[in-house]
Symmetry: C2
Subunit: 236 residues, 2 copies
């Protein structure tokens, strides 16, 4: 009962770039980033090909899971061989929208804002930090690395002139929603939110929350449960 001849219609099924306009499972998207990172590391060590089994083992997933995830976006594996690292990296980069560089700004020059500014990974992940803002006049004007903290008043004009599309919210919870509003108003379309507060942005932007408290609480829960194993934290 598996497959009858008629099923395999000789009409070569569109093999190239079936742009997958169906639903993309949320968990798949999260894992794509992990695949990309692992592939890059392997490529650096000269590995030119990688199987779903290897990828899965490195990341703690089953091989079937890896294949299903990748198959969502088309077929780019090579039976008997695996996936060619360079090829797959490029493919995932494209899927994740990383073939494009976005300008980003940080709002809030407190502990988190300051820590993020020199974080080299941003650049590699396709985001150029071009400005940092703060509300506090005593902080405005001070330097952090080669950046100078700007007043919040400059936000609208700078977002427009520098075409900033991403806003990183590193302000206290109470100021988070207002900050989001200002950023969106100015033209930002994506927010990375470090404030422990749900942002209401309607359909005007995308939000990804990074929530330390939730992570901490997950950890406390797992420990008190005697659970052992690992989980991630970070969700849109």
């Amino acid at each position: 009962m598996p497959s009858r001849d008629a099923d395999w219609d000789p009409t070569e099924r569109a093999k190239r770039d079936p742009p997958q306009r169906g639903k993309i499972p949320e968990p798949t998207i999260r894992r794509l980033s992990l695949y990309l990172r692992e592939l890059r590391e392997r490529e650096e060590t000269g590995q030119t090909t990688m199987s779903s089994k290897q990828l899965g083992e490195a990341l703690g997933l089953t091989d079937a899971q890896v294949r299903k995830d990748l198959a969502v976006f088309g077929q780019f594996g090579h039976p008997g061989v695996g996936y060619r690292t360079g090829e797959l990296i490029e493919r995932i980069r494209k899927i994740l929208g990383k073939d494009h560089q976005w300008n980003a700004c940080i709002v809030g020059a407190g502990n988190i804002g300051r820590a993020l500014l020199p974080y080299g990974r941003f650049r590699r992940d396709g985001f150029d930090l071009v400005a940092i803002f703060d509300r506090d006049p005593t902080v405005v004007g001070t330097s952090i690395g080669d950046h100078r903290v700007r007043p919040l008043e400059d936000l609208p004009s700078l977002v427009k002139s520098r075409e900033i599309k991403i806003g990183i919210i590193a302000v206290p919870a109470e100021a988070a929603q207002e900050t989001a509003n200002r950023l969106i108003e100015a033209g930002v379309i994506g927010l990375l939110n470090f404030a422990p507060r749900r942002l209401d942005v309607g359909q005007r932007a995308s939000v990804v929350n990074v929530d330390f408290s939730v992570a901490l609480e997950q950890l406390a829960f797992q420990i008190s449960l005697g659970h052992r194993g690992s989980t991630n934290a970070t969700k849109s």
Copy 2:
């Protein structure tokens, strides 16, 4: 055909504290933290009771979802009234293992480590940061707030003497696994990992990962897809 008499066995079903030894859905655990935060905010404004509908609206979830989540741990709602904030807060705190305070340490006094040290939320979330370590001799001995950076060599003895149970990994990816090993070796049972690298800890500890790169990539993906809106939480 809903319920026949026989179903409602007069044997009062254990209503108090059914310790829920069945499986607890992963997503439920993540949302518990969000409920707790929201409840605390409401309690501060003097609200003494809250319905599943209100909680759901505040967090972008359905009322049924909220009730199902809470019901997993027993029955502590009041029909016609809702949940009493104080009561529910205490209950969730207990479930999340937050009726216990844990000592924690940070390894890595770079950008992230420094930013986390003064992060007040740790304390409130049940973690006392009692030490920060670094490998670099030029950093060891310097002060950050009221903490003095300690050499990595002191880790084993300090973890034991201060009964540190949580290790926060804020070192570069290359050093993450070794740091995890040292911490576990010393007696730590929970790790909060900020390094972009999967840690292999076997069954010896719990790990929660906070991964900026994954967050960033999710954002890039959502934007390039033209998706708008936020789903909330914090995830595995």
